[in-house]
C-alpha cells in the first residue's frame, strides 16, 4: 500500500530521517512511536507529498509519487485523509464548511449530497448539529473531532493521524482513538503517530519505533513484548508500567 | 442607530484602555530608569540589536528621501528657474518634516515591529511569567533597556539620516538638474536651517520614545499563541504610525510656540 525506500529528510536544516525503509500493508493500523516529535510528523508529510525527501522514494500503490505531475498529485491526495497536529481548521469558515471543503474541491458531488454526508459524518464523531459553529468556539477535543470528520469525509482509504491525542486528557484521548478504530477502512491503511502508548495498545496492529532518525523496530504487539532490544524494552516498559488499573 | 453608538462607544473605550495602558507602562519604565536599575547585559544587547538592525535600512531610506525631495522640488525650479531656492526647499523638507517622519516609519517597521514580535513571543511562551516567577521585574529587565536603546538610536539615526539625505539630494541634483554638488550644499548652508535640523532631532527622539512604548505595550499584551503574536505586531505598527504623526503634530506646535 505505502512503501518508503531509503528515505532521508531534514526539517529546518536538521537531519530528521536517515535511510528509513517502511512497508505498510493494506488493512492494518500502524502506530509510529519514538523519542522526540519532529521526525515522525515529517514522515507523514512525506507519505502524502506535502514534503519532498532529500533521498529515497515514497511508493503509494506501487507508484512513485515524485514522478506524478500536478494532476497526478491531485488525484493521489484525494486518496489521503490527514489529521494535523494543530487541528488546521480554517478559522474563517464554519464547522460545516470546513468538513465540506474536501468534497467541494473535488467538484463531482452535488451540494445536497455534500450537506447530507457532512451532517452524517458530524453525527459519527459525536458533534451532531454543530455545522454553524466557528472553530474558535470549540474546545480542544471538539476541534480534534471536527478535523477528523474533515479528514475522513471523502472516504479516503489512507488515513494519517499526526499526534491525535496531543494535549488532550485521558478520557477525550480514548474517544479519539476509538474513533480512529471505527473510521479505519478494512482495505485501506491508518497510520498513527503519537506518544500516548497506553491508548495505542488497544488500537494499533503494527508498531514502528523511530529512534535517532532510523527505524529501530518493526512488528506486532507480541514481538514488542518478546523483543530483547534494550531501547524497545525501556521505551514500551516505561510507557506501560504505571498508569491505569 | 444604537449599533453605531455601541461601536463608537466600544472604540473609544478600547482607545482609552490602550492609551491608559501605555502611560502606566511609561511610568513604570521611567521609575526603573531613575535611578538606573536595568540589567547591564540586556541593555548592551538591546543597543546592539536596535542599532545593527536599523542602520542599513534607515540610511538607505534617508538617501532615497533626499533624492525624492530634490526631484519634487525640481519641478518648481524647472518652471520658475529659481535654482537658488532648490537647496532651501530640499533641505528644509528633509530636516524638519519628511526626513524624521520617513526615518521614524522605517525605524518603527524594522525595530518596533521586531520588538513587539520578540516580547509577544516571550509572553505567549510564558517566558515573561517565568521571569516574574524568578522574582525578576520584567519591566526593568526587558522593557527599560529597549526603551533606552530605541530612544538614543533613533536620535542618532535621525542626525546621520539627515546628512545622508542631503548627500542623496546633492547627487540627484547633479544628475537630474545639473546643479553642481557644492553649489547645492552651499545653498543648504545659506538657508540657515540649523533651527529645522534641531527640530528634526527633537522629533527623532520623541518618535523613538513613542515607538518604544507602543511596541513594548503591544508585545506585553499579546495573547493566543502564534496567531496572537501576528495580530499584536499588526496592531503595534499601526499604533506606532499614528503615534509618529500625532507626536509630530504636538512637537511642531510646541516648537512654534517657543
Amino acid at each position: 500500500m505505502i512503501e518508503a525506500r531509503h528515505l532521508s529528510a531534514s526539517f529546518e536544516g536538521v537531519s530528521v530521517l536517515d535511510d528509513v525503509n517502511i512497508r505498510v500493508r493494506k488493512g492494518t493500523i500502524v502506530g509510529i512511536v519514538g523519542v522526540g516529535g519532529v521526525g515522525k510528523s515529517v514522515l507523514l508529510k512525506l507519505f502524502c507529498g506535502l514534503m519532498t525527501p532529500e533521498e529515497g522514494q515514497v511508493m503509494v500503490d506501487d507508484v512513485d509519487i515524485a514522478s506524478l505531475d500536478f494532476d497526478g498529485l491531485g488525484s493521489l491526495r484525494q486518496r489521503f485523509g490527514m489529521l494535523f497536529q494543530n487541528y488546521a481548521l480554517f478559522d474563517f469558515m464554519t464547522v460545516g464548511e470546513n468538513v465540506a471543503f474536501p468534497l467541494e474541491q473535488t467538484g463531482d458531488c452535488p451540494p445536497e449530497e455534500i450537506q447530507a454526508r457532512v451532517s452524517e459524518r458530524l453525527v459519527d464523531v459525536g458533534l451532531a448539529g454543530s455545522e454553524m459553529l466557528y472553530p474558535r468556539e470549540l474546545s480542544g477535543g471538539m476541534k480534534k473531532r471536527v478535523s477528523m470528520a474533515r479528514a475522513t469525509i471523502a472516504n479516503a482509504r489512507i488515513l494519517l493521524y499526526d499526534d491525535p491525542s496531543a494535549g488532550l486528557d485521558p478520557v477525550t484521548s480514548s474517544k479519539i482513538f476509538s474513533l480512529i478504530e471505527r473510521l479505519h477502512d478494512p482495505n485501506g491503511v491508518s497510520v498513527v503517530v503519537s506518544h500516548d502508548i497506553d491508548r495505542m495498545i488497544g488500537v494499533c496492529h503494527e508498531w514502528i519505533l523511530l529512534h535517532q532518525g532510523r527505524v529501530w523496530f518493526v512488528g506486532g504487539l507480541e514481538a514488542v513484548k518478546m523483543s530483547s532490544d534494550p531501547v524497545v524494552a525501556t521505551f514500551f516498559d516505561t510507557a506501560s508500567q504505571g498508569g491505569g488499573v | 442607530m444604537t449599533g453605531v453608538m455601541a461601536r463608537v462607544g466600544r472604540i473609544t473605550i478600547n482607545t482609552l484602555v490602550v492609551v491608559g495602558g501605555m502611560t502606566t507602562l511609561l511610568g513604570r519604565i521611567l521609575r526603573s530608569l531613575f535611578p538606573l536599575r536595568c540589567d547591564a547585559r540586556e541593555t548592551w544587547r538591546a543597543f546592539y540589536k536596535v542599532g545593527v538592525k536599523s542602520f542599513p535600512i534607515v540610511i538607505l531610506t534617508a538617501l532615497f528621501t533626499g533624492a525624492i525631495m530634490v526631484i519634487q522640488s525640481g519641478h518648481y525650479v524647472h518652471k520658475t528657474g529659481a535654482t537658488s531656492l532648490l537647496g532651501w526647499a530640499a533641505g528644509f523638507a528633509v530636516f524638519a518634516e519628511i526626513g524624521p517622519i520617513l526615518i521614524g516609519l522605517m525605524f518603527s517597521g524594522r525595530v518596533g515591529a521586531n520588538n513587539t514580535a520578540e516580547l509577544g513571543t516571550m509572553v505567549v511562551t510564558e517566558q515573561v511569567d517565568a521571569l516574574r516567577s524568578l522574582a525578576i521585574n520584567p519591566t526593568a529587565y526587558l522593557v527599560a533597556p529597549r526603551f533606552l536603546a530605541m530612544t538614543v538610536m533613533l536620535f542618532l539615526l535621525t542626525a546621520m539620516g539627515d546628512l545622508f539625505a542631503l548627500f542623496g539630494g546633492a547627487v540627484t541634483a547633479k544628475f537630474m538638474l545639473d546643479v553642481p554638488v557644492w553649489i547645492f550644499l552651499q545653498q543648504v548652508m545659506d538657508a540657515q536651517l540649523l533651527d529645522e535640523y534641531l527640530l528634526g532631532l527633537v522629533k527623532g527622539t520623541v518618535f523613538g520614545m513613542s515607538i518604544a512604548v507602543v511596541s513594548c505595550y503591544y508585545g506585553l499584551t499579546a495573547q493566543g499563541g502564534a496567531t496572537g503574536v501576528g495580530r499584536a505586531v499588526n496592531a503595534s505598527v499601526v499604533a506606532a504610525a499614528i503615534g509618529i504623526f500625532v507626536t509630530d503634530f504636538v512637537v511642531a506646535l510646541m516648537w512654534g510656540i517657543l
Binding site: 468556539e137 474546545s139 486528557d169 | 517565568a130
Partner: protein, 252 residues
C-alpha cells in the same frame, strides 16, 4: 505548609474555580489532576501571584498572602519556584546562562561566578555537559530538566510543576518523574505537580487531589484513588471514553 481556602475564579462568564480548598503538608508531593480546562494551572498560578483570586484565601506557612501586591509576591516567589509546561527558557542565552540569571540577579554574583555556580545545579539534573548549548537545539525533555535546575537556584522550599510530563516522550517523562521524587526525598522540597499523565501520577504522587467542575472532587492517597467507588474518578483513572464525566461545553 500551603493552604487554599474556598478559592473562586472566573474568566468572563466561565467560572473555572468554584470554591477550591486544599492543604499541602511540608515535604510532600501533592498531585493536582483533572481534565484539561478544569483549572489546575489556574490554581497553581494563584500561589505565586501570577493570578489573583476573586474570593477566598491562600496561606503560606500560616501567613495570609491573598492580597499581597506584585512587590510582596517577589518574596513569596523566592520560596516557591515554578516550572512551566513549555519550560520557558530564554532563547537568546545559553542553557548555563539561563540557570545563572537568577543567581546573578539575587545573589549579586558576577557573570563568571554565577556561571560556575550554575554548573553545579546543572550537574544535579545531569545536564552539566550541555551548558554551552542554546535552548533551541536541545530536545523538550532536556529543556525541562534545565528549567527545573533554574528553579532550584533560588533554594526554594516549595516547587510548582505545571504539567511537567505533557508533550514529551515517555523516556524523558520518566526522567522528570525521578527528579521530582529525588527533590522530595533528598532535599525535603514540597512539590505541587499539575498533570493529567496517569503514568507519572501513580509512579510519584504522595497525595492526589482531583479537580472537577471547579471543586476538589476527591483528595487522598494513591491507594484511596485506586479503590474509590466514585464513578467520575473511576472513569478518569481508567481513562475509558464512556462514563458520567461531562466536558466543559462550547465556550461563549
Amino acid at each position: 505548609m500551603i493552604e487554599f481556602r474556598n478559592i473562586h475564579k472566573r474568566f468572563g462568564e466561565k467560572e473555572v474555580l468554584r470554591g477550591v480548598s486544599l492543604q499541602v503538608e511540608k515535604g510532600q508531593i501533592q498531585y493536582i489532576i483533572g481534565t484539561s480546562g478544569a483549572g489546575k494551572s489556574v490554581l497553581a498560578k494563584h500561589l505565586v501571584g501570577l493570578m489573583r483570586a476573586d474570593s477566598g484565601q491562600i496561606l503560606l506557612d500560616g501567613e495570609d498572602i491573598t492580597d499581597w501586591n506584585e512587590q510582596a509576591f517577589y518574596k513569596v516567589r523566592r520560596r516557591c519556584a515554578t516550572v512551566f509546561q513549555h519550560s520557558t527558557l530564554f532563547d537568546s542565552m545559553t542553557l548555563a546562562e539561563n540557570v545563572a540569571l537568577p543567581l546573578r540577579k539575587h545573589r549579586g554574583l558576577s557573570h563568571q561566578k554565577a556561571l560556575v555556580r550554575a554548573m553545579e545545579y546543572l550537574k544535579q539534573v545531569n545536564m552539566a555537559d550541555h551548558g554551552h548549548r542554546f535552548p533551541a537545539d536541545v530536545g523538550d525533555g532536556l529543556r525541562k530538566r534545565v528549567a527545573i535546575a533554574r528553579g532550584l537556584t533560588m533554594e526554594p522550599e516549595y516547587v510548582v510543576f505545571d504539567e511537567p510530563t505533557t508533550g514529551i516522550d515517555p523516556l524523558a517523562a520518566a526522567n522528570v518523574d525521578q527528579l521530582i521524587r529525588k527533590l522530595s526525598d533528598d532535599f525535603g522540597v514540597t512539590s505541587i505537580v499539575i498533570s493529567h499523565d496517569l503514568r507519572s501520577i501513580f509512579r510519584v504522587a504522595d497525595r492526589i487531589a482531583m479537580l472537577y467542575k471547579g471543586r476538589v472532587w476527591l483528595d487522598g492517597t494513591p491507594d484511596e484513588f485506586q479503590e474509590t467507588t466514585d464513578p467520575v474518578v473511576r472513569q478518569f483513572i481508567s481513562g475509558d471514553a464512556e462514563g458520567p464525566m461531562e466536558f466543559p461545553g462550547v465556550r461563549g
